[in-house]
């Protein structure tokens, strides 16, 4: 035991020694870098918080862009901080502000976080910063309008779209062909096709994840003729008869047509592979899973917007993250950060980012880039993911988003699970949401 103790103490010494040595190491380069940079006009360095999941080697791609950017602007140093997911980045920003720490100049957070970020006084409007770029109007016009929907408030622009996606339906073209079916163009044909393609115990006609349900539900509501959110930032339409219709349609897919698992489907993670494996004929999911599905599927993959209630209508909703510039950072850093955001959304980079990650390129002109054209020739479905944007409504974003979304989830899932009727659930959701928004009017 004595020996172990001594070993342990030694280890501790070594380790704590290493800790201090590390601390020294980290400060050293900063100190020596400063005098070297003085020669340049105005050296600026800024931090950017960026979420990375395992979707793609995002960190590697971003670091490549940063290298290119710094080559063009030698006086600017970009220091990326890669965190886990969107939630982590937002929490990191929050805790930084509340803890009185130095915020990063820029962060990529969900487009829908807009109101919380404005109200909490974390972000600055980009209008005056944007006026420094040469082709401001052309630039903004080139961004897909659905992606800009959640950037505007109070007549100002607060964020720039970057890592964006949308809800789509993937369908197994081979199965459809074999059954003599064509792609559905209405709720009725969707339900009928799903029913026909279901083989009990072997294959579902459709999977529609609803563990975190609002996003994949929205195309249904839009398809029914009433989005759950409108132009107002304090009004929701949960108990609208059309929205209730949408809830009923979702439930009917399992109750009436037996074409999808009953109740809430906690299958966000498993759905794409289920689809690629052929154990489900259609899935509703993010455009972000396209790359993975294509890689794994040995059949012709179809991508389309979600059919609406009326024949020939379709719907979708965008998702994903935008660049935000944070308050309290020096003007020079903010300007440098905006330059970076502008730089990586140049058509060339937007196209590159899209082909490497599977996200939708945020700019129309990116689709004219040779690299993108070559990619589309190989993966024509990538053009379909872009084309669903035509049918995209506004993603749920309003004041008090966290609470309202929780309320909606709670009652939508109660309806899905059959613990409440759709009417009662949506009425209660509306009541609670209205109450929670009272303070914001």
């Amino acid at each position: 035991m004595k020996k172990t103790l001594i070993m342990f103490l030694l280890l501790t010494l070594v380790v704590t020694g290493g800790l201090f040595a590390n601390g020294k190491k980290e400060t050293a380069p900063a100190a020596s870098a400063a005098p070297a940079a003085v020669k340049k006009a105005e050296p600026v360095s800024f931090e950017i918080y960026y979420p990375v999941a395992v979707d793609a080697p995002i960190a590697k791609i971003l670091n490549g862009y940063i290298k290119d950017f710094q080559a063009q602007y030698p006086n600017i140093t970009v220091k990326p901080v890669f965190s886990g997911g969107y939630g982590d980045v937002k929490t990191a920003v929050q805790t930084t502000f509340e803890g009185g720490g130095k915020a990063p100049a820029m962060a990529v957070m969900l487009a829908t976080d807009l109101y919380d970020l404005i109200n909490s006084d974390y972000i600055v409007p980009l209008d005056s910063l944007l006026s420094t770029i040469p082709d401001k109007t052309a630039y903004l016009n080139d961004i897909f309008p659905s992606f800009l929907q959640n950037s505007k408030y109070d007549g100002k622009i607060w964020s720039l779209p970057f890592q964006r996606s949308a809800v789509v339906m993937y369908y197994n073209k081979d199965l459809f062909k074999a059954a003599g079916l064509t792609a559905p163009d209405s709720w009725d044909s969707l339900a009928a096709d799903a029913q026909k393609l279901t083989i009990k115990g072997k294959r579902w006609g459709i999977e529609w994840p609803s563990g975190w349900p609002y996003w994949l539900f929205q195309p249904l509501a839009i398809g029914a003729g009433q989005n759950i959110i409108g132009d107002s930032d304090t009004t929701v339409y949960f108990n609208n008869p059309k929205v209730i219709d949408a809830v009923k349609f979702y439930i009917s897919l399992s109750k009436k047509y037996h074409a999808t698992p009953a109740g809430v489907q906690g299958s966000w993670g498993a759905a794409p592979t289920n689809f690629a494996k052929g154990s489900t004929a259609m899935i509703v999911h993010s455009t972000g899973s396209l790359t993975g599905i294509i890689k794994q599927a040995n059949f012709d993959v179809g991508v389309m917007p979600i059919p609406g209630k009326v024949k020939g209508t379709y719907a979708s909703v965008p998702g994903g993250g935008n660049f935000y510039i944070l308050k309290g950072t020096p003007k020079a850093e903010q300007e440098a950060a905006l330059k970076f955001a502008y730089f990586v959304t140049q058509p060339k980079y937007a196209a590159d980012f899209s082909t490497k990650t599977g996200y939708i390129a945020v700019r129309k002109s990116a689709y004219n880039e040779p690299e993108m054209k070559a990619y589309l020739a190989k993966v024509p479905q990538a053009a379909d993911t872009r084309d669903v944007l035509k049918y995209a409504g506004k993603e749920l974003s309003l004041q008090n988003l966290g609470q309202v979304r929780n309320i909606f989830h709670k009652y939508l899932q109660a309806a899905y699970n059959g613990t409440m009727t759709p009417e009662a659930a949506m009425a209660q959701a509306q009541k609670e949401a209205d109450a929670s928004l009272k303070d914001f009017k």
Partner: protein, 294 residues
Amino acid sequence: MKQKKYLPYVLILPTFIFVTVFTVWPTFLSLYKSFFKQRLNIARFREPVFYGIKNYTQLFQNPEFINVLKNTLIYVLGTVPLTVLAAFIFAQMLNNKFKGIGYFRLAFFHPSIIPMVSAATIWMFFLTPDYGLFNSALTFLGYSGPQNWTANPNLALFAVMIIAFWKNAGYYMIFYLAGLQNLPTNIYEAARLDGAGYLRTTFAITLPLLKRSTLFISTIAFISAFQTIDHIFVLTKGGPSGRSTVLLYYLWQTRFENLNIGKASTITVILIVTLLAFTLSNIMLSEKKEPNNE
């Protein structure tokens, strides 16, 4: 030791300082803030406004919060006693000498080495509807109920409880095992000569002798049951319909999703009071029975 009156205080000082800075002070801060309305996402409430005890009354009138308390109670009372009991049984089973016993101990202990986030990820996979092995195994045993564990309103809380049970039972087992191996063997010899059966020996000798182990284990089990929500984060996000939301997760939601600082502070205070009640009673019970302590 009388000439150094200050010595005990000096010895306690480091602990005292850390406890003050990182526990007592922030607790008082939370208590103070619980009397204010402060919501980061409403411009006019960004600075705290005095609110009396309204945060408390509103919470206790909110059926959602009552539901959270209920879930918490089910979670804690459902996992702690069962896990401790299983730990004791496992320890009894593995307190034998046969070849390869180490591998068996490893089999039960290994989940405690796995961080809860990873354990939850493994279980998310394990619980997958349709082809997850958990369902396959249950189907094999004749189960035909719903398979969607994390999304079924009646199963979600149960699913996260199973994970906690799986993860912790082997951990607590080690403490029991150590306790068992420290027991004097001559008592058992005597009991056997008296003709006492296995069950009688367990209840009359083993359990009383392991009282201290049980106190230790149940204390850490209670604390960790209240403190660990990583699996809820990964698996259910408190859903569906809030059916697996427990107190700490609710605190997290209120604080970081709803940005409601006043209410979050209030929940912190309630959480602390609940924990104080649980652990204090646990400790007081044990102290009472050991009069030679002071």
